[in-house]
């Protein structure tokens, strides 16, 4: 018993604790190295790091192409967010409430980009754009991200719908509100956290996405592709600096999201919901 349900550190088997510490170190070692060497005057590599400097950040802030690509990525992320919510939220409602032929197939199809290697989604879209003569640009990337990430919006909102009390919607309809009013005044406010959670997740995933973008890129780079291009030419601590800044922003997003969640009793965990609902769908 002590072994299994113990909350007292003294009773936890030592190897289990050491294993956990080892895994945490493994997960954080590259991140620590990344941040540390963004301040290293000698470039990336070499031990111990010395000549600590902010020079790489200075170079980064003066680097036009990087900031252009950040702007491009932001546009793509917002567009992807819009597309996947506009189609993903109704898709969740449809899966929850409507019956139509091919529903099971539709559900699997929507979820597929989430588990499929990005290269397959990227290439198949490339073929579509090629055969329809669509010129590759940021717009094709937006369409790609938007489509692939519908899966995230749908799983999140579908999970939220399972907890929704339909009586409220019913009451609204009985009291004479139409479906449109009921949707905006009852359904959406009740799903607020699922929708915000999905939006944040879609935004972050899109900002970081590279496998789909890799094939749909036109003339303008997104940030990950800009970084990719530079990595192929050689490594510089400027990349560490920009990565450190992105990491800091991601951390702020997570903290914001959790403080938002904590204020609401309806809170759900985005990542967990995603995994659980994909498991549920698999069953």
């Amino acid at each position: 018993m002590e072994f299994l349900l113990s909350t007292d550190p003294a009773n936890v088997p030592r190897w289990l604790m050491l294993h956990a510490i080892a895994v945490f170190s493994f997960l954080y070692l590259p991140i620590a190295v990344l941040i540390l060497y963004s301040f290293n005057g000698q470039g990336v590599g070499g031990f111990p790091p010395h000549h600590l400097t902010l020079n790489w950040y200075r170079i980064l802030f003066a680097d036009g192409p990087i900031w252009d690509s950040v702007l491009n990525s932001l546009q793509v992320a917002f567009a992807a967010m819009a597309i996947s919510l506009i189609f993903g939220v109704p898709a969740a409602l449809a899966l929850d409430r409507a019956h139509f032929p091919g529903k099971a197939f539709f559900r699997r199809l929507v979820l597929l980009p989430l588990i499929l290697p990005g290269i397959i989604t990227g290439l198949s879209l490339l073929m579509l754009f090629n055969i329809t003569g669509t010129k590759l640009s940021l717009i094709t990337i937006m369409l790609g991200h938007g489509t692939a990430l519908i899966s995230v919006a749908t799983t999140e909102v579908f999970a939220g719908l399972q907890k929704l009390d339909r009586a409220q919607e019913e009451a609204s309809l009985d009291l004479g509100a139409n479906y449109w009013q009921t949707f905006w005044r009852i359904t959406v406010p009740n799903l607020k956290l699922s929708i915000i959670g999905a939006a944040l997740l879609i935004f972050t995933l899109s900002m970081d996405e590279i496998a789909v973008s890799f094939f749909l890129i036109g003339r303008d780079n997104t940030l990950p592709l800009e970084i990719w291009g530079r990595l192929r030419r050689g490594i510089t601590p400027e990349i560490n600096a920009v990565s450190t800044i992105i990491f800091a922003f991601s951390l702020i997003t997570i903290v914001l999201w959790y403080s938002l969640r904590r204020r609401s009793a309806l809170g759900t965990d985005v990542g967990m919901e995603l995994v659980e609902s994909s498991n549920r769908d698999a069953n």
Partner: protein, 282 residues
């Protein structure tokens, strides 16, 4: 309670969008795999099985596919070995710090994939952090050159990236185990090891299967880590596809390989679905 019009409005737009931007492209990939390329580098829309013949006859393709599956299996095993005990530790032993530690596992997922792969490159390189550290401590005289540009580097990096993905479903499965089952097992005289192997582990199998599938499928299709850290011996099947769609310009053959990959992945998803169902007690 929902009218026909409501159902139509929520169903049709996503259905149309998903058909145009997901189903159609996948079907197109299927069509492409039966086409060919003319000597003038134009796509010839005549149906034939040449690409699939080439896929079977040229050893380089299926050998690379096998090697990629080997790498994916190793990543899967290491992610399970790292992720399962961690999930168990959090779920059963972490007490009040559980939620905090859960976040600590998730946070690396928010760091760009590319950036983490790059960080490993700076650690493993011949004048990288690890090699200079080893020489600084006089443990080695010369840089170890097997660290970077090898399948080892690819497996290490992909394991780092997919361990949290493997952890998540296992943790979810462990959290769903009713604690009174564990207590009952103990009260009935089972040793901790017996309780683990006869109660906890069997109930966590659906999570293990889901986690293993994530790790295998996602690493099978990876092409960035091999390009960045793999070197010639770490080339994976997706790298061949990328070159067929780029410089080698043979989209139909690339489509055939992608389709083979798609079939393997979808087959595995079905298999893991079956297995999860078989092992779920709820």
């Amino acid at each position: 309670m929902f009218s026909r019009a409501y159902k139509t409005v929520v169903t049709v737009p996503p259905l149309v969008w998903v058909t145009v931007f997901l189903l159609l492209p996948y079907l197109l990939m299927f069509c492409y795999s039966f086409w060919s390329v003319s000597p003038e580098q134009a796509i010839v829309h005549s149906w034939n099985l040449e690409n699939y013949k080439e896929l079977i006859q040229k050893t380089v393709y299926w050998q690379t596919l096998l090697r990629s599956m080997g790498i994916a299996v190793r990543v899967m095993i290491f992610s399970l070995l790292l992720g399962y005990p961690l999930a168990y530790f959090l779920s059963f032993c972490a007490g009040k710090r559980k939620d905090l530690l859960y976040q600590v596992v998730i946070i690396p997922l928010w760091v760009s994939y590319l950036v983490r792969a790059y960080a490993w490159k700076t650690i493993l390189g011949s004048d990288g952090v690890l090699n200079t550290l080893l020489q600084y401590g006089h443990l080695t005289r010369h840089p170890l050159d097997f660290l970077l540009y090898s399948p080892f580097a690819v497996v290490l990096t992909l394991t780092h990236i997919y361990t949290p993905f493997t952890f998540l479903p296992i943790y979810a499965a462990l959290e769903h185990i009713p604690r009174n089952l564990v207590e009952a097992s103990h009260d009935l005289g089972a040793t901790p090891a017996q309780t683990f192997w006869k109660v906890v582990f069997p109930l966590s199998i659906p999570g293990v299967i889901a986690g293993a599938t994530f790790a295998f499928v996602l690493s099978l299709g990876d092409f960035l880590a091999p390009l960045l850290l793999g070197g010639p011996s770490g080339i994976m099947i997706s790298n061949i596809v990328v070159s067929l769609f780029g410089a080698a310009y043979n989209w139909p053959l690339g489509a055939a390989i992608s389709l083979a990959m798609l079939v393997i992945v979808v087959g595995l998803l079905f298999l893991s679905e079956r297995l999860e169902k078989k092992w779920s007690f709820s």
